[in-house]
């Protein structure tokens, strides 16, 4: 490339770059616009919000913040803490056990291997809603409401995350490395934790973000299983604010809380997205 470059190539590259930047800028504006609107709406009073759209902030930010924070029906810090605990543990369990399962299927030749793999692929297409009805019923029967673990533990079996890990291993994990570790006398479990896991870093970071975000925003199951105020999560509280009766209804508060709810996921996202980038340089293996 260094010596073959000619003017034609350079012009092509420049045109390509301009096009790429144009596409990226348009998409970024679209993405940022939704955030902009959320921020603007958080600065508007209920009456203003009922009146329609506004492009500029309207100075009720602190008022909305105070109203949301002091609302007697919800406890924002508590809700954030609950949501964070559930989302973080779910994300860790989901990614770790999905990688473990994927490695089990990827690295070992055992009798049921094919059958188990096919089974996971098949159940991947079953929507979680199918099991939700039965699951909620069971939880009530066994008194498992107002506990976090019935929401966290199911994360261990995440067929979709498993599939991603498996696909990723297929493209990056050479068995030679594992065999070298075996020759060095490392046991299988240690090999997985100390050698395989670090190599999967980009995949793990990606799936951690996804599972954290989806757990953080999850409303369906938590709203059915967490009924006591001290266990409620952020989405339940937002729904509660939105369905408040007319004397208390305040869209300003709702938008403010939505804005607050995004901040923690944003932080987690930025931290993890850095490790995706790092993973590229650290994780590359010469095949």
């Amino acid at each position: 490339m260094k010596n073959k470059e000619n003017t034609k190539g350079r012009i092509q590259l420049m045109v390509a770059r301009i096009l790429v930047y144009a596409v990226l800028i348009v998409l970024s504006i679209l993405c940022l616009f939704s955030f902009y609107m959320l921020i603007i709406n958080a600065t508007r009073s209920n009456a203003q919000l009922q009146g329609g759209f506004a492009a500029l902030p309207q100075g009720h930010f602190l008022e909305n913040l105070r109203n949301a924070w002091t609302d007697a029906s919800i406890n924002i810090p508590r809700g954030m803490l609950n949501s964070f605990f559930i989302a973080a543990t779910t994300a860790i369990l989901t990614t770790y056990f999905s990688a473990l399962t994927a490695y089990g299927i990827h690295a070992y030749r055992f009798k049921l291997r094919k059958a188990l793999f096919t089974f996971i692929l098949a159940v991947m297409v079953i929507p979680p809603q199918v099991s939700a009805a039965g699951y909620v019923q069971l939880c009530y029967k066994f008194g498992l409401t107002n506990k976090f673990w019935p929401l966290i533990l199911p994360g261990i079996a995440a067929p979709v995350v498993f599939f991603y890990m498996k696909q990723y291993m297929e493209s990056v994990l050479p068995m030679e490395i594992v065999e070298a570790a075996r020759v060095d006398g490392s046991n299988e479990f240690r090999t997985f934790n100390t050698i395989v896991l670090p190599m999967l870093k980009p995949a793990i970071a990606v799936q951690m973000i996804f599972s954290f975000v989806s757990s953080w925003n999850n409303y369906f199951l938590p709203s059915l299983l967490l009924t006591k105020a001290e266990y409620k999560t952020v989405p339940i509280m937002i729904a509660q604010l939105r369905s408040a009766d007319y004397s208390k209804f305040d869209m300003g508060k709702v938008y403010m809380f939505i804005l607050l709810a995004i901040l923690p996921v944003l932080v987690v996202y930025i931290i993890l997205s850095k490790s995706i980038i790092k993973g590229v340089t650290a994780g590359s293996v010469k095949g």
Partner: protein
């Protein structure tokens, strides 16, 4: 994989996959069986009277596939809607995401500000789907900025009711899904491309391959496993689409239920709700309410939104 020095590693395979299957059995399989079992029963509440649970065989399924007064079979109609919304949402999403992933990982283009763009394109996914729908509703309502622009530009005398026409509602739903998920897909594909050995790209370059050849001969074949994954998950996501159409169309799947997706089947919901009520007679009202409110993500925003925007 070959066995080494006669040692069998097969048992480790079982040990490693055990937690997954135990969890799946308890938390997914048993509840699924229970759900299917329940579908053979009549079990709901009519006013204050509890009907059932009585075994009715396949009656519920027959009801689902029985044409209504106008001769349409709802479940097939909903399946068709889901399919249309999925195709409209997933295909552009995967194509654009693939393109972006290739842009970002191309060392030839060397895009500046990559970190910024990558961060920004995923951000819509951080917003709850119901909140995202609320924003879209405000933008496209009769008094929203989009209609103001259209009228100011003289394109239309009267405001266009985006939520009353099949085409516009579907387009809105598809574009929302696109905006929410294309960043997610891009990141997945990027992680896949980054997993490909860089030496291969260099080797192709040295052999004089141009970027199109590199794309079709190196990147895409090696990316296939991840690409298959994104297509499948986009499909599953599409089939399970619920909250976006729900909030956007004020719970009715307007116009004329053309955006009603499979997840919204009322039969299913009624069944689920009433069943729960039966088992929690102490708080039936609250549960019923939350169940109606839920199925995904708080569609009770619907009326509020209508008021807010009207």
């Amino acid at each position: 994989m070959k066995k080494h020095k006669g040692i069998s590693y097969a048992k480790w395979g079982y040990i490693f996959v055990l937690p997954f299957f135990v969890t799946y059995l308890i938390f997914s399989f048993v509840p699924q069986v229970l759900t299917i079992y329940n579908s053979f029963f009549d079990n709901y509440r009519q006013g204050l009277t509890q009907i059932g649970p009585t075994f009715v065989g396949v009656k519920n399924y027959v009801t689902l596939f029985t044409p209504d007064k106008t001769g349409t079979i709802d479940i097939l109609k909903y399946a068709g809607n889901t399919l249309i919304l999925w195709i409209g949402g997933a295909i552009p999403q995967i194509l654009i995401a693939l393109l972006l992933a290739i842009f970002f990982t191309s060392y030839r283009l060397k895009i500046k500000g990559q970190q910024f763009f990558k961060t920004v394109i995923y951000m819509p996914n951080l917003i709850m789907a119901s909140a995202f729908s609320m924003l879209f509703f405000t933008l496209f309502s009769n008094v929203g900025p989009v209609n103001q622009l259209i009228q100011a530009a003289g394109l239309s005398e009267v405001p266009i009711d985006f939520f009353a026409k099949k085409v516009t509602v579907r387009t809105l739903i598809c574009s929302m899904n696109f905006l929410m998920w294309f960043g997610n897909t891009t990141i997945l594909l990027m992680a896949g491309i980054m997993g490909i050995d860089q030496d291969l790209f260099e080797a192709a370059e040295i052999d004089g391959a141009n970027s199109v050849q590199v794309l079709f001969r190196v990147t895409l074949p090696l990316l296939m496993p991840i690409l298959v994954y994104t297509v499948i998950t986009a499909m599953i996501g599409g089939l399970q689409m619920f909250d976006v159409p729900q909030v956007l169309t004020n719970r009715a799947g307007n116009p004329n239920r053309t955006s009603m997706t499979l997840q919204e089947l009322r039969h299913v919901r009624r069944h689920l709700g009433d069943h729960l009520c039966h088992h929690r007679s102490s708080e039936p009202g609250r549960l019923q309410q939350s169940l109606q409110a839920v199925q995904g993500s708080a569609p009770e925003a619907g009326p509020d939104l209508r008021e807010a925007a009207a």
